[in-house]
Symmetry: C2
Subunit: 108 residues, 2 copies
DNA sequence: GGCTACATGTAGCGTTTCTACATGTTGGCT
DNA sequence: AGCCAACATGTAGAAACGCTACATGTAGCC
C-alpha cells in the first residue's frame, strides 16, 4: 500500500478506534494494526502528531495517567469528534463510490 | 469530499479512463466527471500536471493532434501503464479493506 | 462585441505522512 | 550484570501532490 494513500483518511480511522474505547497512543497503534488485519502499521512519527492535531482541532481530548510506571496520554472523543467521525464515514462512502465508479468498468 | 482524499488514488483513476480509450486532457476531465456521477470535477491545475507526471513516469504516452482548429494532446496507456493500472486496482482493494476494517465496527 | 465551451498549461501554497532521531521504563533472557 | 525487546511518547525536517490563481488562445453562438 502506497505511503500517502492514507491522506485524509487517517483521521476518521483514528476517531473510530477511539470511539470504541478511550485509548492511549500506543494502544491506538495496536488497535489499528489489529482492525486492519496487520496492514496498517503506523510509524510513531505519523500517529503522535496526528493525535495532537486532532486534539488541537477539538475532536479529541486527552488525559495523562500512569500505569505500571509508564506515562500514558489517553484520548477520548469529544462531541465534535463524534460528529466528525460521522461525517468522515459518509465522506468515505462517497469517496469509495467515486473511485469504484471510475475504476469499475472492465475490472478483470 | 475533502481536497486531498484523492492523494495516491488519482493516478489509477486517470489510467483507467485512458485505458478504455485514448483521450486528451479535457476529455479525461469529462470522463472522470461522468464516471464519478458528477463528483470528481478536477481543476486543470490538478489534471494537467498529473498527466505530465504519469507520462514522465512512463505510464502514458502522448501525441499532438489538431481537431477543428484546436490542439489536443492525446494520451494512451503504455504497457507499463497497463501494469500500473492493474497494480493500482489491487492496491485499491487492499486499501478499501483496511479502511472499512477500521471504520466498520458499529457503523450505525 | 461579448460570452460560453473547448483546450492546455505554469507558479507557488498548504497539508500531511514519512524517515530519522531522541528519551525513558519494565521485564525477560543469558 | 548486561542486553534487548516491548512499552510509551515525542520532535525536526523532507517529500509528495492536489489546490488556487493566473495565463493564453480558438470556435461558435447571440
Amino acid at each position: 500500500m502506497k505511503a500517502d494513500a492514507l491522506r485524509g483518511h487517517l483521521d476518521p480511522m483514528i476517531l473510530a478506534v477511539v470511539e470504541a474505547a478511550p485509548l492511549h497512543g500506543y494502544a491506538i497503534m495496536e488497535a489499528l494494526l489489529e482492525r486492519s488485519g496487520g496492514e496498517l502499521d503506523l510509524p510513531t512519527g505519523t500517529l503522535y502528531p496526528a493525535l495532537r492535531r486532532l486534539e488541537r482541532a477539538g475532536y479529541l481530548a486527552s488525559e495523562w495517567s500512569t500505569v505500571g510506571g509508564r506515562k500514558r496520554r489517553t484520548y477520548q472523543l469529544t462531541s465534535a469528534g463524534h460528529k466528525m467521525l460521522a461525517t468522515g464515514k459518509t465522506e468515505w462512502q462517497t469517496f469509495r463510490a467515486v473511485v469504484e465508479g471510475v475504476l469499475r468498468p472492465d475490472t478483470p
